[in-house]
């Protein structure tokens, strides 16, 4: 009963706080207003996505096209980044491990680092920059040139065609790209290890995955699915709500990248905490 009263009191205090600042014209009240309006509209946007996801038409062809755009066209950048990070990370990790006589642990260290953190995070950040900005700019441009309204008036649901297909594509393709990035990173790392220790690729891979658990792999998959969804939904939300001409398109692309990167870091911290909590049992 006391808990109920406390919750009611807390909600009342919060409501009074909002009312106090809602009627004012000062900058703070406007920011409070816009923060809550934005939060509400993002949640509404996400709810609409899930509502329309299972409705007809499926737009399967467009989903495949978007998967190609998101996945295949990101391969060169992911390859370069993953490979270079693999080499550099191995090079930088070697001296302290050699100092403690633990150079043989290097493949395990690289394996754990790539599967648990580097693979999903690097892929997500690169995709946020490349794919997120692309989606934000493309939809933003369609919005300000009335192409989205044109779809609407020609009896085609623009949300289904533009938003649902892109979010599904990023949610499906980011885990695939993460897998690819991890593989390329390990390949880069192997080249460095092989240069120093003449280890075979099979031995390197066996050592790399020796310490990787099922929980590590499953948390990486869950993380990359969440990152993919975040990149897609933020890019689409920003683009779909773009306004004020070409300047608005630039802002939509920029905000899509900044906001999705911020969310990716926040999600990374949350997922790591949950994974560690599960691992402690």
């Amino acid at each position: 009963m006391n808990i109920r009263k406390s919750v009611v009191r807390l909600i009342n205090t919060f409501y009074l706080f909002l009312r106090k600042y809602k009627s004012g014209d000062d900058l703070f009240s406007k920011r409070v207003d816009s923060f809550f309006i934005e939060t509400y509209s993002i949640h509404k946007f996400i709810a609409r996505f899930f509502k329309e996801l299972f409705q007809k038409p499926s737009e399967f062809r467009e989903i495949i096209r978007q998967c190609y755009e998101v996945g295949f066209k990101s391969i060169p950048l992911i390859t370069l980044t993953g490979f270079v990070i693999g080499i550099v990370f191995t090079k930088q990790s070697r001296p302290p491990l050699v100092e403690f006589g633990a150079a043989s642990w290097l493949p395990s260290l690289i394996g754990i680092a790539f599967v648990r953190a580097l693979g999903p995070l690097v892929t997500a950040l690169i995709a946020a920059g490349k794919v997120g900005s692309n989606i934000g700019a493309e939809l933003g441009s369609m919005k300000v040139t009335e192409q989205i309204d044109a779809m609407d008036v020609s009896a085609v649901n623009p949300f289904k065609f533009l938003v649902v297909t892109r979010v599904v594509a990023t949610t499906v393709m980011i885990p695939v790209l993460t897998l690819y990035c991890t593989f390329v990173g390990l390949l880069g790392s192997y080249l460095n290890v092989h240069q120093n220790e003449l280890t075979s690729f099979v031995t390197f891979i066996e050592s790399a995955f020796a310490q990787v658990s099922f929980l590590d792999v499953s948390s990486a998959v869950v993380k990359s699915v969440i990152y993919g969804f975040t990149i897609g939904i933020v890019g689409c939300y920003r683009g779909f709500n773009a306004s004020h001409g070409t300047q608005g398109v630039g802002k939509a692309a920029n905000r899509a990248v900044v906001f999705s990167m911020f969310l990716i870091f926040a999600e990374e911290m949350i997922v790591v905490q949950i994974t560690n909590w599960i691992a402690s049992f």
Binding site: P57, E138, M142, T145, E146, Q147, D149, A150, M151, D152, V153, S154, A155, V156, N157
Partner: protein, 257 residues
Amino acid sequence: MKNENQPGIKEEIVISIRGLYKSFGESQVLKGIDLDVFKGENFVVLGRSGSGKSVLIKIIAGLLKPDQGIVNVIGLKVDKLNQKELQGLRLKMGFIFQSSALYDSMTIRENLEFSMIRNFKHLSSTEINTAVEEVLDAVGLKEKINQMPSDLSGGQIKRIGIARTLILRPEIMLYDEPTAGLDPITCTEINELINEVQSRYNTSSIIITHDLTCAKETGHRIAMLQDGNFFRLGTFEEVFDTDDIRMKSFFDYNFIR
């Protein structure tokens, strides 16, 4: 005022608006508009920039919600329809945007097919192809079928915009500034096309424009929108046969330049 003496125009009302109000923030754009558009009629709305002409047709198309008032299109109250019903109504309505709003990542063929493929799933690809070629032929741009919108001139883009709506065989056409930004010869061609569309497909149209030549050549009735309401309504001659300074300045600017 009816146009019973005009050929092709019937007494049947296809668009009926009563007491329409719309505001954006502090600014009240439409203040109690009443309007009837008859079947087969070309109704022209004239007015200064920012007078709410485009807002009016966007409300009719269901792109904007009115603050107050009733908008009836082919017997359906637009603001009371759910998404599915609104999509059904939109198949009977063609909207030509000022910028034409062609999908710039698609070819002309894909632009025209886009809505048809999704709304008429029973049609075969041959039937869709025939429909595409037929409307392109109607607007005189059959040879542009595989080009991108960026390869076309302003007048051609307007024509493709009209073709994109015609392919759905609409009963109502809503034109937002169809001649804006075009040279006088292309304007004349677009005006002729609007009249041809009306006579060939028996459409009823609302044409939003500043261009008095367009209004005179296409409109059966003309209304002047000012301060959120129609202050003159009738045929071109009736509307401009006045000493009202607002009408005279509008007329003089268009014809004595």
